[in-house]
């Protein structure tokens, strides 16, 4: 089996338009959640989110590209470019033929659906733009990344709600580890912050009207975010041979299905994914210094996740740090695991643990070190990144410092 390392990272989200800006914000415990701005927002009960500001897509992409790129594709291409630039990898010949793109998204081109439904239903128009379908399809982003960067190997999109990115990155990891691909672009993106996207979430009554406060006793729900995270996963010897800067190593993963409820989380399913990732990596539980939690800020998720951590880690659960950066960037749904992987990279490479901000009151059901409100310096050798989706589909990645 090959070793797999991350040699490039890119992102855009409500905390920043690049990895350095995002990590600065996480270090400072800044909050990217604020009042939403889009058409008809006044008709929503939920009016906050982690919205990307100041992103001038028109300046980045030409007119023809804009007709094909939904906002989730725009985010993906922006993050992919940053990751590839940082990595310095160039896809030609055999490397291009064997390297691919696996990305996660839950909704794909949600605002393209929203705009065009509005146009035909509300405005009564009987004609839509010819590119509506290629613009909104869930694989549009993966396809455009492959076209833009000449990636001709295995490429597809994974859609498992809030675990989409982690499932995608787990598959990309598997491909590089098995030798099937020398490098993979992977991660995910989401852009649901439009009237229909938020209205649908409102219906479940799990959203907070004021803030995302994971693990805090007074938490009252999740807050949506948007953006993308994209990484270059590369075979270790390949990366070393070309002198690439290695951000961290991906050492294991596991996926599990609760097979129990369409929305309620399961402690057993989450625990099996975490312990499975450790087993896959050949690591003991007490080697883990940091967990980037799924930590949605809902009553159900946070207590279930903490109970699962206690089960998997035993007494070591009290030694490790666990934080939810959703408190800062919101829940990016299908893109969330990708942006959250950045917090793991920061912990491993820079020795800085991103905080759980908005933490106000301890909850006895979440009695772990959740790194409340302020980032912390600590040397971490192994980190886990959790994602537990609606539908009971879980995916956990294990990463290691190099």
């Amino acid at each position: 089996m090959k070793r797999v390392v991350i040699t490039g990272a890119g992102t855009i989200n409500s905390l920043g338009h690049s990895v350095p800006d995002t990590l600065d914000a996480m270090r400072e415990g800044r909050c990217g959640i604020s009042a939403l701005e889009f058409r008809d927002v006044e008709r929503l009960a939920i009016q906050i989110g982690g919205q990307v500001r100041g992103f001038e897509a028109e300046g980045r992409f030409n007119r023809q590209q804009m007709t094909l790129y939904d906002r989730f594709t725009q985010f993906t291409l922006t993050a992919a470019k940053e990751a590839i630039d940082q990595s310095g990898i160039e896809f030609h010949g055999d490397l291009a033929a064997r390297s691919g793109v696996v990305l996660g998204t839950a909704g794909g081109g949600v605002s393209t659906w929203d705009d065009n439904y509005r146009s035909v239903y509300e405005d009564g128009k009987n004609r839509v733009h010819p590119f509506v379908v290629p613009k909104l399809m869930n694989n549009a982003a993966a396809s455009h990344v492959s076209m833009e960067h000449n990636l001709k190997g295995p490429s597809f999109t994974v859609s498992t709600a809030c675990a989409s990115s982690n499932h995608a990155m787990a598959l990309a990891f598997q491909m590089v580890r098995s030798g099937a691909a020398p490098a993979m672009l992977t991660g995910g993106s989401e852009s649901m912050l439009c009237f229909g996207g938020v209205k649908a979430w409102e219906g479940l009554r799990v959203m907070s009207k004021d803030a995302c406060r994971p693990f805090s006793a007074n938490r009252n729900g999740m807050v949506q975010g948007e953006g993308a995270g994209v990484f270059v996963f590369e075979e270790y010897e390949h990366a070393r041979a070309r002198g690439a800067d290695i951000l961290c190593e991906v050492v294991g993963f596991a996926m599990s299905s609760d097979a129990s409820d369409i929305v309620m989380p399961s402690k057993q399913g989450a625990a099996r994914a975490m312990s499975g990732a450790l087993a896959d990596a050949g690591l003991s539980a007490d080697s883990v210094g940091y967990i980037n939690a799924h930590g949605t800020g809902t009553a159900a998720n946070d207590k279930t996740e903490c109970a699962a951590v206690a089960d998997v880690f035993g007494p070591h659960a009290d030694e490790l740090m666990i934080s939810s950066t959703k408190s800062m960037h919101g829940h990016l749904i299908g893109g969330t695991g990708a942006v959250e992987l950045l917090a793991c990279i920061m912990a491993l490479r820079d020795g800085v643990i991103a905080p759980t901000i908005g933490y106000e009151e301890p909850d006895p059901e979440c009695a772990l070190d959740v790194v409340p409100n302020e980032a912390r310096e600590a040397k971490v050798d192994v980190a886990l990144s959790n994602a537990f989706a609606f539908g009971g589909l879980n995916a956990v990645l294990a990463l290691k410092r190099v």
């Binding site: 479940l204 009554r205 959203m207 929305v263």
Partner: protein, 85 residues
């Protein structure tokens, strides 16, 4: 139908019971309505009466809307309907 009868009909349908099996003292738990069933019932009640019920599944006890039993739910809805302009 009175407000009470209409609410009971909605709850009974959600619980897959006859309306006569739903008493004012029944709790949602007694009726076998879980959190997802509760959210669905609230949606159906909002549609039936054209009201908005302040309910967040993360903090059921923190909202003004009491769901401790069927009588409390009916009282809450009667209040919201009377406040409707």
């Amino acid at each position: 139908m009175s407000i009470s009868d209409r609410v009971i009909a909605i709850i009974a349908e959600q619980a897959v019971l006859e309306p006569s099996d739903v008493t004012p003292e029944s709790t949602l738990e007694d009726l076998g309505i879980d959190s997802l069933g509760l959210v669905e019932s609230i949606f159906a009640i909002e549609e039936e009466f054209d009201i908005s019920i302040p309910f967040n599944a993360n903090e059921p006890s923190a909202s003004d809307f009491d769901i401790s039993n069927v009588a409390a739910i009916i009282a809450g809805i009667e209040k919201l309907v009377s406040e409707k302009v």
